[in-house]
């Protein structure tokens, strides 16, 4: 389990997960109408007589930018744990949507994961496995913090997680 806390692993996984999210956002940002159509196909948040078109359209224009921002933060490593938490939240949402479609026999021909126009991947079991894999990475980044880069030599200032410098007292070599 020690390897899971290696800083280099977190750095690499952050870049990889971030790249997936940014890649996923590009087509949706370029073709909002096509992505909105796919959101409709899920029949999860409308459009319906009760909801109208606004919730589905709003989701279609905002979700890709949340994905892009999450991916960017994961790559540059700023707010990485919180960005990973956001990624986990998004992935759980996708899993619920795909599960809903499968459970209701709704044939979502194109899942809208990476490509929104033409032939896309169907929402199916393979997609659920892929999302679970990404979710595992996101949860690792969010909840298993990397250990400090290297142990500080005795007597040296020890940086606390908050970034404050504290000089240990009583152990100063004379």
């Amino acid at each position: 389990m020690k390897a899971l806390r290696h800083p280099a692993l977190h750095w690499l996984l952050g870049i990889a997960l971030g790249a997936v999210f940014i890649y996923a956002s590009i087509d949706k940002i370029e073709q909002p109408r096509e992505f909105a159509r796919i959101v409709y196909h899920y029949r999860l948040i409308g459009p319906s007589a009760a909801l109208g078109f606004v919730p589905a359209n709003t989701l279609a224009v905002t979700l890709p930018w949340v994905e892009a921002l999450t991916g960017l933060l994961l790559i540059v490593g700023v707010w990485r744990r919180e960005a990973a938490l956001t990624a986990a939240f998004l992935l759980v949402t996708f899993l619920v949507a795909v599960g809903w479609a499968l459970a209701h026999g709704i044939d979502v021909e194109n899942c809208g994961c990476f490509r929104v126009s033409g032939e896309g991947r169907a929402a199916g079991t393979k997609l659920i496995l892929q999302d679970l894999g990404l979710l595992a990475v996101a949860l690792l980044l969010a909840f298993v913090p990397p250990r400090a880069r290297e142990a500080a030599p005795a007597g040296a200032p020890v940086p606390l997680p908050q970034g404050k410098l504290v000089v240990p007292t009583g152990t100063h070599p004379r």
């Binding site: 096509e34 409709y40 899920y42 029949r43 409308g46 319906s48 359209n57 224009v61 905002t62 709704i106």
Partner: protein, 151 residues
């Protein structure tokens, strides 16, 4: 881990998305139907209006797969399934060309088949309105239905 940061990420992403939609030049109308392309001249009607047109003798087209048509359809409607358009259209073409008031429907808001069929008809010079709330709205309103393969 600071939870508020995750909230900020989602909120900032949403604001960026709404701003891009408003000012990016490719935005969509948030209250509009994304099944209809910009500039596309397609008329959408609700169930009550569809019933009125049915009573006046409008021709209804069922864009759902034929299996659904057999389980129940609007009386008098002809099957023109989106997944078998070319073949079905060939059989119906003479009649469609001689009809002025045509209404296409499928299985409701999430269903795109009626829009695709109306678009294909339009490309062939035939105008059709869309019952955009579809079959569920028709049955919810208690309007007559018919089972079986006959119109």
């Amino acid at each position: 881990m600071r939870l508020w940061r995750a909230v900020v990420i989602v909120a900032a992403g949403a604001v960026l998305g709404l701003a891009w939609n408003a000012f990016g030049g490719r935005g969509i109308a948030l209250s509009g139907n994304a099944y209809i392309k910009p500039g596309e001249d397609i008329v959408e009607i609700d169930a009550a209006e569809a019933k009125k047109r049915l009573d006046k003798g409008a021709l209804f087209l069922d864009a759902r797969p034929v299996a659904f048509y057999g389980m129940g359809h609007i009386p008098g409607a002809l099957p023109l399934p989106e997944d078998d358009f070319d073949r079905a259209f060939a059989g119906l073409e003479p009649r469609l060309r001689n009809t002025l008031d045509i209404v296409v429907y499928c299985s409701g808001y999430g269903c795109e088949a009626s829009h695709i069929v109306a678009r294909k008809l339009r490309e062939k010079g035939i105008h059709a309105a869309i019952l955009h709330e579809g079959w569920p709205a028709w049955t919810d309103a208690g309007y007559p239905t018919k089972e079986g393969k006959e119109p």
